[in-house]
C-alpha cells in the first residue's frame, strides 16, 4: 500500500505543484528552496482571465473548434458505424482494416499536404478549414469506436421492428439509438478530448483567427519567460474542461480504453 502511494505520487506531485505555483505571486515562485507554505493568491487567475493579455479569446477558439468537431463527427460517424456493423457491405473487411490503418498514419505526414491544400483553397486560419482537418482524424477514430459497440447490440430487436413494418431508418432511430447512448457518450468524450488537446494541426494550420488554448500555452513560454505563476494559472484554466471531463467521466473513459478488441488512440 505504501509502495503504491509512493508510486502514485509520481503522477500526483507535478499536477499538485502546478496548482500550488498558480496560487503564488511571482516573487514567491522564485524563492529557493521552493516553498509549500505561503499565502495563496488568486491574482494570477485574475490576470489570466481579465488582464490585458487574457486567454478568453483562446478559450473561445478552443470551444468553437472542439464543439463543432465533436458535433459533426458524431453526426457523420454514427450512421457510418451502424452501416459497417449491420449491413452486408461487399467491401466490409478491407474497409474496416482501412479505417484502422488511417489511425496509424503519423500526423506529420498529413500536415504538409494539408497545409498546401488549405493554402491553395484559402482556408488556412479559418474555422471551416480547421474543423475539416480535425474531422479527418476524429471521424475514423469515432467510427472505429462505435462499430465495436454497434456490433454488440443484438439484432433481434431491430428485426422485430422490421417485421412490424418499420423502415430501416425508423428501426435505427427508435430501437438501436437508445441502446447506443453509452457508446455515443464515450465517443463524444474521446473526440472532444482529442480536439481540445490538439496542438500540431492548430499551430500549423491556424493563425490569428483560429488560435486555441494549446497554441496560446506555447506562446506564453515565448513571450513571458519568467511569469511562471501566470503560466501555471493559464495552463490550469486551459485544461479545466478536459480535467473536469476526465474526472466526471472516468468510468466511461476506462471502458472506452478497453472496449471490445479495438481501442482509441489519444492525441500525441
Amino acid at each position: 500500500m505504501v509502495v503504491a502511494a509512493m508510486l502514485l505520487s509520481i503522477w500526483v506531485v507535478p499536477i499538485l505543484w502546478a496548482i500550488i505555483t498558480s496560487l503564488k505571486n511571482e516573487k514567491e515562485v522564485l524563492a529557493y528552496p521552493p516553498t509549500v507554505i505561503f499565502t495563496p493568491t488568486l491574482h494570477n487567475f485574475h490576470e489570466v482571465l481579465f488582464g490585458p493579455t487574457n486567454i478568453v479569446s483562446y478559450l473561445t477558439s478552443s470551444i468553437v473548434l472542439a464543439t463543432s468537431t465533436t458535433v459533426l463527427t458524431v453526426l457523420l460517424a454514427v450512421p457510418a458505424a451502424y452501416s459497417f456493423a449491420r449491413l452486408k457491405l461487399p467491401a466490409k473487411k478491407p474497409m474496416s482494416f482501412y479505417v484502422l490503418a488511417t489511425q496509424l498514419v503519423p500526423p506529420i505526414g498529413l500536415i504538409i499536404p494539408y497545409y498546401l491544400i488549405l493554402n491553395r483553397v484559402g482556408w488556412l486560419d479559418s474555422y471551416k478549414g480547421l474543423v475539416l482537418i480535425y474531422l479527418t482524424f476524429s471521424l475514423p477514430f469515432a467510427i472505429w469506436l462505435l462499430v465495436s459497440y454497434f456490433e454488440d447490440i443484438p439484432r433481434e430487436m431491430e428485426e422485430a421492428a422490421l417485421i412490424d413494418r418499420a423502415s430501416r431508418l425508423q428501426a435505427f432511430w427508435h430501437v438501436v439509438l437508445p441502446q447506443a447512448r453509452g457508446a455515443i457518450g464515450v465517443t463524444v468524450i474521446f473526440v472532444f478530448l482529442n480536439a481540445w488537446n490538439e496542438f500540431l494541426f492548430a499551430v500549423v494550420l491556424g493563425g490569428s483567427n483560429v488560435s486555441p488554448v494549446t497554441v496560446a500555452m506555447y506562446n506564453y513560454i515565448n513571450t513571458e519567460q519568467t511569469q511562471w505563476a501566470q503560466l501555471a494559472a493559464a495552463a490550469l484554466i486551459a485544461m479545466l474542461p478536459v480535467i473536469a471531463l476526465g474526472i466526471a467521466a472516468q468510468r466511461h473513459i476506462v471502458s472506452g480504453l478497453s472496449a471490445g478488441s479495438v481501442k482509441g488512440v489519444t492525441r500525441r
Binding site: W11, Y32, P33, I112, L200, K263, R267, R268
Partner: protein
C-alpha cells in the same frame, strides 16, 4: 448511410498521402514559390547521406523503444500492485486519468518550467537535496534526451496501467486458487498464468503506445523544440523543422514519407504478432 463518411475518409487520408509522396519528389521552397521543380529521388538521396537524419532515426528508435518498454514495465507493475487493493482502486483510477487527459503541449511546458528548470524546478531541487547536484536537464544533450523520454513515459504510463488493470480484473480467480493448491509460488503464478492470459492485451497496448510514441510531437516541441541543437529530434520533429522552419517542403515530405513507411512496417509486424498469439 456510410457513403459520405467513407468518401470523406478516403479523400482525407489517401489523397494527402499521394500528394505527400509527390511533394517528396520535388524541391519546394516556401520562400520562393516560383522555383519549385521536379527532382525525382534527389531528396531521398540527400536523406541517405544526411547525418542529421540518421541521428534522428537512431534517437527515434531509442526513444520509442525505451518509453514503450518503461511504460509497459511500470504500468504492469502498478496494475499488479493495485489489483491487490480493490478498495483504493477508484483513487488510483482518478489520479491515473489526469496525465492522460492533459494536452501533451501543456505537459511538455509544465515539465520544462515547473520541474526541470535549474534552480527553481522541483526535480532539480530534489536532485540537489539528494546530493546529485543541479543539472541542465533540458540543455545538455544526453540529459535532454532522457528528460524527453521521461516526460512521455510520465504522461502515458497511466494509460497502460488502466488498460492492464482492466485486463487483469477479468482473469478468473479459480485458476489462481488451483495454482496455490499446487503450491506454485507468486513468480510461477505470474509467468505461467497471468502473463499468457494477458498477452493479447499487452500486445495491443504496445501497438497503441508505439504508434503514439513514433508520432509524438507536442510534448517534445514544447519542452525542447528539438534541441539542444538537434539532440531531441525524432524523425517527426525533423520533418516539421525542415518543412516549416527551413521551408524546404520537398525534403520535409521525404522525411515524413520515411516515417510513414517505418510506422506502417512496425504496426504491421505487431499486428502479425498479435494474430499469432
Amino acid at each position: 448511410m456510410a457513403a459520405p463518411s467513407v468518401a470523406v475518409l478516403i479523400a482525407s487520408t489517401t489523397l494527402p498521402l499521394v500528394y505527400l509522396v509527390w511533394q517528396s519528389l520535388r524541391s519546394t521552397n516556401l520562400a520562393m514559390p516560383g522555383m519549385d521543380h521536379f527532382v525525382g529521388a534527389e531528396n531521398y538521396l540527400r536523406l541517405w547521406h544526411d547525418g542529421r537524419f540518421w541521428d534522428a532515426f537512431g534517437f527515434t528508435i531509442i526513444y520509442t523503444g525505451s518509453t514503450v518498454g518503461l511504460q509497459l514495465v511500470l504500468g504492469l507493475a502498478l496494475a499488479l500492485l493495485i489489483l491487490q487493493i480493490p478498495r483504493a482502486q477508484w483513487a488510483f483510477r482518478t489520479v491515473a486519468i489526469l496525465p492522460i487527459v492533459l494536452s501533451p503541449v501543456v505537459v511538455g511546458l509544465f515539465w520544462r518550467t515547473l520541474l526541470l528548470t535549474p534552480d527553481f524546478g522541483i526535480v532539480d531541487f530534489a536532485s540537489r537535496a539528494l546530493g546529485l547536484g543541479s543539472h541542465n536537464w533540458l540543455g545538455d544533450p544526453l540529459l535532454a534526451r532522457i528528460s524527453v523520454t521521461a516526460i512521455h513515459t510520465w504522461q502515458w504510463t497511466p494509460f497502460v496501467f488502466l488498460y492492464l488493470l482492466a485486463a487483469l480484473s477479468t482473469l478468473p480467480a479459480d485458476l489462481y486458487e488451483a495454482a496455490r493448491i499446487d503450491r506454485a509460488n507468486a513468480w510461477r503464478r505470474f509467468t505461467n498464468i497471468t502473463l499468457p492470459l494477458i498477452r493479447p492485451a499487452i500486445v495491443m497496448v504496445v501497438i497503441l503506445r508505439m504508434t503514439v510514441a513514433l508520432s509524438a510531437f507536442a510534448a517534445i516541441y514544447a519542452a525542447t523544440g528539438g534541441g539542444p541543437g538537434t539532440a531531441t529530434e525524432i524523425i517527426n520533429l525533423l520533418a516539421y523543422r525542415v518543412s516549416f522552419a527551413e521551408l524546404s517542403l520537398g525534403y520535409g515530405a521525404a522525411v515524413a514519407v520515411v516515417l510513414l513507411v517505418v510506422t506502417m512496417v512496425v504496426a504491421a509486424l505487431l499486428f502479425r504478432l498479435r494474430r499469432a498469439l
